[in-house]
Amino acid sequence: MSSPKFSRAIVVGASSGIGAELVRQLASSGTVVAALGRRMDRLEVLGLEFPELIHPFQHDVTDFRAIPALFQDVTLKLGGLDAIFYVAGVMPEVASDEFNFEKDLAMIQVNDAGAVAWLNQAAMRFAGVGAGTIVGISSVAGDRGRAGQPVYNASKAFLTTYLEALRNRLIGVTVVTIKPGPVQSEMTAHLPGHDGFMPASVAAELILRKSSRSGEHYLKLMHRLIFLILRNIPSPIFRRLNL
């Protein structure tokens, strides 16, 4: 499967990790990309790689009220829009006995509310023109509620379900849910075994390839098989497995 060709794309959450790699790879295939993120200094450095193609925008996805106007500014700058990638996500370190509402709220705001704010804009637009691609970076973590990361799991489950609903609502629009496993990034840097995770560049390449087809996609065949089983284990048994 080859990557679809987008003329113009938005990447939300482009300062680092998968988002920065997506911007880089999109631009290298000739796509004009709006790179949105909190850290403008990093976006500008990224932009230097393809100064003609990459347009950095400073943006915090929790600044919800600013999003409709910013969306219009960005699409004006790009001269149109073929695809939007929502990559922004946070996963603060949470101890196994910790219930910290501040951390939980941050996850809900960035992983979910920000996604809805951005992707609703894209959905309205793409519904009107009857074309377009929406890609949301969810996670295998959304497939089950596990002891270690209750709100992170739930936030990704929300995103997966929201994207499924968009897929069912929007005619002619490609809606893609990506469920990566662990990927090397700042978000996962604190996790044990980080060095063995999939490099962000590899993840971005796979995401672009899978963006041609509506549906939910894992990035590894092994994940697809493992999570097929895990999703179908009845909850009382799942609880005893202590996964």
Binding site: F71, Q72, G80, L81, Q121, G128, V129, A131
Partner: protein
């Protein structure tokens, strides 16, 4: 008023090669237009005027801008069947016009190959028909028009006003035509006396055109561009002099519901199977073989003769991935040399026009014009994504040939002209004059189109 995300629509040129997503507004009344200027200012956008979207390229599209679609402004404001003078809103189509006027013995003085164009768009692009050599372009039959400029003011411009000649053909850049007063053409019959014949070479075709032009009302040729000699089939027609009221009923003017036994609404699907070089060559050969060697005369309704492009609804979709329309205008002295050269360039390049239509023209008084004393050849080139860039490069080569001999081009049909091209055939003085009017009537450059920027008109 604001730019609503759910007002974004994809609008394309009729060739379906160029498209853009924009904020589409479809006012129901003229009064709803002026506030859009303020919206454009507040949102730092520009306004692209659009009628029926029948221009083939990017004349009525502009990405991310306000697309002002005037198709719903369809009132006939005044109609006098005694004088044949009609005053309409800009969204009124040629179809509405003839259906309204035919029964009382009036027909639009100039019609294009489709009845589904709006008057506003038709005048902005300075359209012509198969009677151009005789009747001029549609704009020459307009008595006056109302122009709404971005300052919110409306002025009535008569054909004597100097500005008039820059509005016709002005591509919707000087203001919005909100009202048109047009002189219709008197007829006594809804039929034409049509003559068909075939010619075997460019020389014969052009000579025949010159011989009959003084005597006929309409004249058009179909040329087989795949044939090295220049096989052609010519049709010419005269308004029937008899009084024949029955033929002036709308019911006597219907296009056939079926063609070769196929329901015409679905015919484009079938035509997809023959839009390839081999089938087109075969069909062209058959068409030529079946055409009468000696002139053959028959009667045809005005609608059936005039609106060939409406026989097959959605015919543009038969090209699968769209097509480029490319119409060259050549001075009469150069035509016999250059048309065969263009045909030869096509054969050696591998790009040949699936459909080519020849017409005779005369000059007109308009500022931005394609008109000259000569001939035009309108050609359809199918576009395939893989060879699109090569096709455009080839059309640029043809453009250079046409410009070198004093030829011209037609913005409604255009997708490929570069700023130096229109500068070449219009002349810098003309462009300066037009831009002077532009800065006078639209100093903020609120009215723009993708085409206008591409060719450097603004």
């Amino acid at each position: 008023m604001s730019l609503e995300p759910d007002s974004i629509r994809r609008v394309s040129g009729f060739g379906e090669v160029q498209w853009a997503d924009g904020y589409v507004f479809q006012p129901e009344t003229i009064a709803e237009i002026a506030p859009l200027f303020d919206l454009a200012r507040a949102e730092k956008r520009t306004i692209c005027l659009r009628g029926a979207g029948r221009s083939y390229g990017d004349a009525s599209i502009d990405p991310e801008q306000i697309i002002l679609d005037l198709c719903n402004l369809i009132l006939v404001l005044q109609w006098d069947p005694e004088s044949g003078v009609i005053t309409v809103e800009p969204g009124v189509t040629i179809q509405q016009l003839w259906q309204r006027c035919l029964q009382t013995g009036w027909w639009p003085p100039v019609v294009p190959g489709t009845m589904h164009v709006t008057l506003g768009g038709a005048l902005a692009m300075n359209i012509h028909g198969k009677n151009h050599f005789r009747a001029g372009s549609l704009g020459q039959h307009v008595l006056s028009l109302d122009l709404l400029t971005p300052d919110g003011k409306t002025q009535t411009i008569s054909r004597e006003d100097e500005l008039f000649n820059s509005i016709i053909g002005g591509a919707g850049l000087l203001g919005i035509i909100t009202k048109v007063t047009l002189q219709m053409h008197k007829i006594t019959s809804g039929e034409l006396d049509v003559t068909a014949l075939k010619t075997v070479s460019w020389a014969e075709t052009l000579a025949y055109f010159d011989r009959v032009a003084a005597e006929v009302d309409y004249l058009v040729g179909w040329v087989d561009m795949s044939n090295p000699k220049g096989h052609a089939v010519i049709h010419h027609a005269n308004y029937s002099p008899e009084s024949h009221p029955a033929s002036m009923q709308t019911s006597a003017q219907e296009l056939p519901p079926k063609i070769f036994g196929f329901p015409k609404a679905q015919l484009w699907r079938i035509m997809r199977f023959v839009t390839n070089p081999v089938a087109v060559k075969v069909l062209n050969g058959i068409k030529f073989a079946l055409a009468p060697k000696q002139p053959k005369t028959f009667r045809q309704s005005l609608v059936a003769f005039s609106f060939l492009l409406d026989y097959v609804p959605n015919w543009q979709k038969c090209y699968r991935t769209g097509f480029l329309q490319f119409q060259v205008f050549l001075p009469k002295e150069e035509a016999l040399e250059i048309f065969p050269l263009i045909a030869e360039m096509q054969r050696s390049s591998g790009f040949f026009a699936y459909l080519a239509v020849l017409k005779r023209h005369r000059p007109d008084p308009f500022t931005i014009t394609w008109a000259l004393d000569g001939y035009s050849l309108a050609m359809d080139f199918p576009v395939h994504p893989a060879s699109k860039d090569a096709l455009i490069a080839f059309l640029h080569e043809v453009t250079d040939v046409v410009l070198a001999c004093g030829g011209r081009f037609y913005l409604a049909k255009d997708s490929t002209l570069r700023p130096e091209d229109i500068q070449s055939y219009l002349g810098q003085e003309t462009i300066d004059k037009f831009q002077g009017l532009k800065s006078k009537h639209d100093p903020e450059n609120l009215l723009q189109t993708q085409l206008a920027r591409r060719v450097g008109l603004i």
